[in-house]
């Protein structure tokens, strides 16, 4: 932008007005801001600015609107041809969600081979990057180089280069449970009554997040939503229950199963993979069962 500043006072004034109105300015706005300007001067000044690529031109309700371009875009487009500019703009609009190559082709109307070349070019300049999508491993999306991919693309904290880190999740799952269990006993025979005890045994996701962060087991910054996902797995494990406080915050509490392990899982048959093949006679019988031998040994 420094190049345009020392040019002439008219362009500078127009730029200042444009900066104040990020939504864009019309001819009238410019004239109001710079009243001494003649129509011819205005046209030449605008044309010059457009040429420099500082402004985008839009048609809004019949009148022309000039909008200041972002700083980066101006730099990036420097020394690029028209195709690159178009592709760049499309990618920029997609933000951190990225855009699929097919969509670029459809919108820009550039032939496939040329488009690949353009993209490669931009990539080698480190203006854009390709990111693999976790949901569909074959799908590549493009976004600006300096952007952090969205959660839906990168998968959030649970993915390292597209691979799901189940061990990390397991550890967090265990730590969250430990935190909840430390509090769970407060409900038992609480001298202040069970309602107070229950409130004390509850933990909100924010508290759990703080605990996990303080432990320092994760080098990735965990958001509250991440912790809620982990806490939900605990609920699905049957090791915790969730509840909602009157003010709307979701809270969790460690619980025990209603019954101790039932009789079926105390005998080998309950866990036997061959239970459906076990008969009174034949190869697999309870009399000859090896699992039962082992179980009766000790």
């Amino acid at each position: 932008m420094s190049s345009s500043k020392n040019d002439d006072p008219i362009s500078e004034k127009i730029l200042n007005v444009a900066k104040k109105n990020p939504k864009g300015i019309s001819d009238k706005d410019i004239l109001a801001a710079v009243p001494e300007l003649s129509a011819a001067e205005l046209v030449s000044a605008i044309n010059k600015l457009l040429q420099e690529g500082l402004f985008d031109l839009y048609n809004q309700g019949g009148s022309l609107i000039y909008r200041l371009k972002g700083q980066t875009s101006k730099q990036a487009v420097k020394g690029a041809d028209n195709e690159e500019k178009v592709v760049y703009n499309l990618i920029e609009d997609a933000g951190n969600k990225g855009i699929w190559i097919r969509d670029i082709r459809l919108r820009s109307n550039i032939a496939n081979t040329q488009l690949t070349k353009v993209l490669k070019n931009l990539e080698s300049k480190k203006v854009i990057k390709a990111v693999k999508c976790v949901n569909a491993s074959k799908k590549k999306v493009y976004m600006l180089y300096n952007l952090e991919p969205d959660r839906s693309i990168s998968g959030g904290a649970w993915y390292q280069d597209q691979d799901f880190e189940s061990e990390f999740v397991d550890i967090l799952n265990r730590q969250c449970l430990r935190f909840l269990q430390q509090r769970a006993d407060k409900i038992k025979n609480n001298p202040k009554g069970p309602v107070v005890g229950r409130t004390q045994s509850f933990a909100s996701a924010v508290e759990v997040q703080k605990y996990i962060t303080d432990l320092g087991i994760s080098n990735v910054k965990l958001e509250v939503e991440d912790v809620i996902t982990i806490l939900n797995t605990l609920v699905y494990d049957g090791k915790a229950e969730s509840s909602v406080l009157p003010d709307g915050t979701k809270v969790y509490r460690a619980i025990e199963s209603l019954i101790p392990p039932p009789g079926l899982v105390q005998v080998p048959c309950g866990v036997c993979p061959l239970i459906l093949k076990c008969c009174s006679t034949g190869l697999i019988t309870p009399q000859e069962c090896k699992y039962m031998d082992d179980w009766l040994e000790n």
Partner: protein, 506 residues
């Protein structure tokens, strides 16, 4: 009435009544109802043996009969559920002992063995049996008092009475707590005959009353695990109140007002809970019980300071789910249990969503889901899109749980396991039959020698006929049999929850 149930029933009958009764019982299980000539024909047993077997089975209420098309002939029918109760006997004894003491245990044990008998016969037999046992110090008066109290508490009831038709039908009668004349009974013991006592009211054990106790126990324990002892005690009191106002197995009890509960709490004298805390915070406990008590109890109205309902059906379902969770965890691991519960929470869910919510790697998640499907813990519902939408339309597969079906297959699994333990125990017993027999004989001889007062040296000689290796084998076998019967009891507890769930129509 499944094949597995048939195997279990047959095995139980063999263990308790021997081979012939097993044959008759199994025959009846397979064919449903049939008259004696048909049983004789299919089993190939002599008629006398069949009749004797049926007599035993009818006596223990394992077989019922009704007039067939020709009204002078009876059709016989096996009651498999009652056969399964045979392995529950030790639990009945334990329950009555904890509630009413060892005299009650002895009485109930004798009554279980007799199946049904008159009060005077029962008291006289028990008193005669323990006449010489100075340690237990059992008197006729004490026995009578205990008998009356367990009859009042409905743990025993009057046996149904047969009417006068050709094939009698058994009519249940209302139980009236009897008035027992001690002097007459004492005389009977002294003269060793019951001829003088005219008593024609027969008694039998009321299993249902015991089952109510078991159910209460499970519910109270579950609440204790979830919240604490005081909440468990409150649950106990709620159940007690339920008996006063509703049918015992009602899916939902009639509402109990808080005021009544307050009275009950003030009267309660259980030692294992902090009574002051319960009195002080009863309203709080009720709230927590309702909100965090797995849906056993709900508040239904505000009359009388709030009214609470015990939901037996929901409790049974919750307990079944807990049992299922345990089973899935043990069979397929905790990750599979997570998927199982996830599907249950979401009701219907797609495969991709399972993976997202369960936080499992794609491959592992799929594998576990298919394993769950394979073992029939979950079901699949394809949703085909209309053909008009073209080749792009893919069918959607929704996973869900059919609880009733899963419960059925769990019950089948319990039957299998129970059959296997019974079979194994029987096999162990048969394999060491000679040794076990020898041990029994030695014990009888030693006992009679002791009674006769023979010198210690002779007794030792007899005892030494069992060699050390034999003794160690015996010890081993006994330990195994004990473990197997403990497993049978545990399986029976498991089946109890399942049958409780099936009691309510779904």
């Amino acid at each position: 009435m499944s094949h597995q149930l048939g195997r279990v029933v047959s095995e139980i009958l063999h263990q308790y009544f021997g081979e012939i009764v097993q044959k008759v019982g199994h025959d009846l299980f397979i064919y449903g109802t049939k008259p004696i000539p048909m049983i004789v024909k299919t089993t190939g047993l002599p008629r006398k043996q069949v009749v004797d077997s049926l007599r035993t089975l009818v006596k223990f209420d394992l077989v019922s009969f009704e007039p067939s098309f020709n009204e002078v002939v009876a059709d016989y029918k096996l009651n498999p559920d009652n056969v399964l109760l045979l392995i529950r006997y030790p639990r009945y004894l334990l329950q009555i002992k904890t509630k009413f003491g060892s005299e009650a245990e002895i009485l109930v044990e004798e009554l279980l063995q007799q199946a049904s008998c008159t009060a005077s016969f029962l008291l006289v037999t028990v008193a005669a049996k323990y006449k010489d046992d100075k340690k237990k110090n059992i008197t006729l008066v004490k026995l009578r008092d205990v008998f009356i109290s367990i009859a009042t508490a409905r743990y025993i009831q009057q046996a149904p009475v047969a009417d006068k038709s050709e094939v009698p039908s058994l009519e249940p009668v209302a139980t009236i707590v009897p008035d027992i004349d001690i002097r007459q009974l004492a005389q009977a013991i002294a003269t060793d005959t019951l001829a003088d006592v005219s008593d024609n009211i027969y008694w039998k054990v009321n299993f249902d009353r015991f089952h109510q106790d078991f159910r209460d126990d499970i519910m109270v324990k579950a609440i204790t695990r979830r919240i604490d002892e005081n909440a468990g005690e409150l649950m106990h009191l709620l159940l007690q109140n339920m008996y006063l106002t509703s049918a015992e197995w009602a899916a939902e009890s009639n509402p109990t007002p808080v005021l009544d509960l307050r009275d009950a709490v003030d009267r309660a004298d259980r030692t294992d809970c902090d009574r002051n805390l319960l009195q002080q915070y009863m309203d709080h406990y009720l709230r927590v019980l309702e909100e965090n008590g797995a849906g056993f109890v709900v508040r239904v109205g505000e009359a009388g300071g709030g009214q609470y309902v015990v939901r037996g059906r929901d409790a049974a379902t919750q307990l079944l789910l807990a049992a299922l969770d345990h089973t899935v965890t043990e069979r397929l691991g905790s990750k599979a249990a997570r998927i199982f519960r996830l599907i249950r929470t979401k009701k219907y869910i797609e495969e991709d969503d399972i993976q997202k919510h369960a936080m499992l790697p794609n491959k592992e998640c799929k594998e576990l889901t298919y394993k769950l499907l394979e073992e029939h813990f979950i079901s699949i519902q394809p949703m085909r899109k209309a053909a008009s939408s073209g080749a792009m339309a893919k069918a959607v597969y929704l996973y869900h749980i059919k609880l009733h079906d899963v419960a059925q297959s769990l019950r089948e699994m319990c039957y299998r396991a129970l059959h296997n333990t019974l079979r194994r125990a029987q096999h162990t017993r048969a394999a060491h039959a000679r040794l076990l027999d020898k041990q029994r004989r030695v014990r009888t001889i030693v006992h009679t020698m002791r009674v006769r007062g023979e010198p210690q040296q002779h007794i030792d000689d007899v005892e030494e006929t069992l060699t050390p290796p034999e003794l160690s084998t015996l010890k081993d076998v006994e330990a195994r049999l004990k473990q197997l019967s403990a497993a049978q009891l545990a399986l029976d507890k498991n089946l109890f929850i399942l049958n409780w769930y099936f009691m309510y129509p779904h």
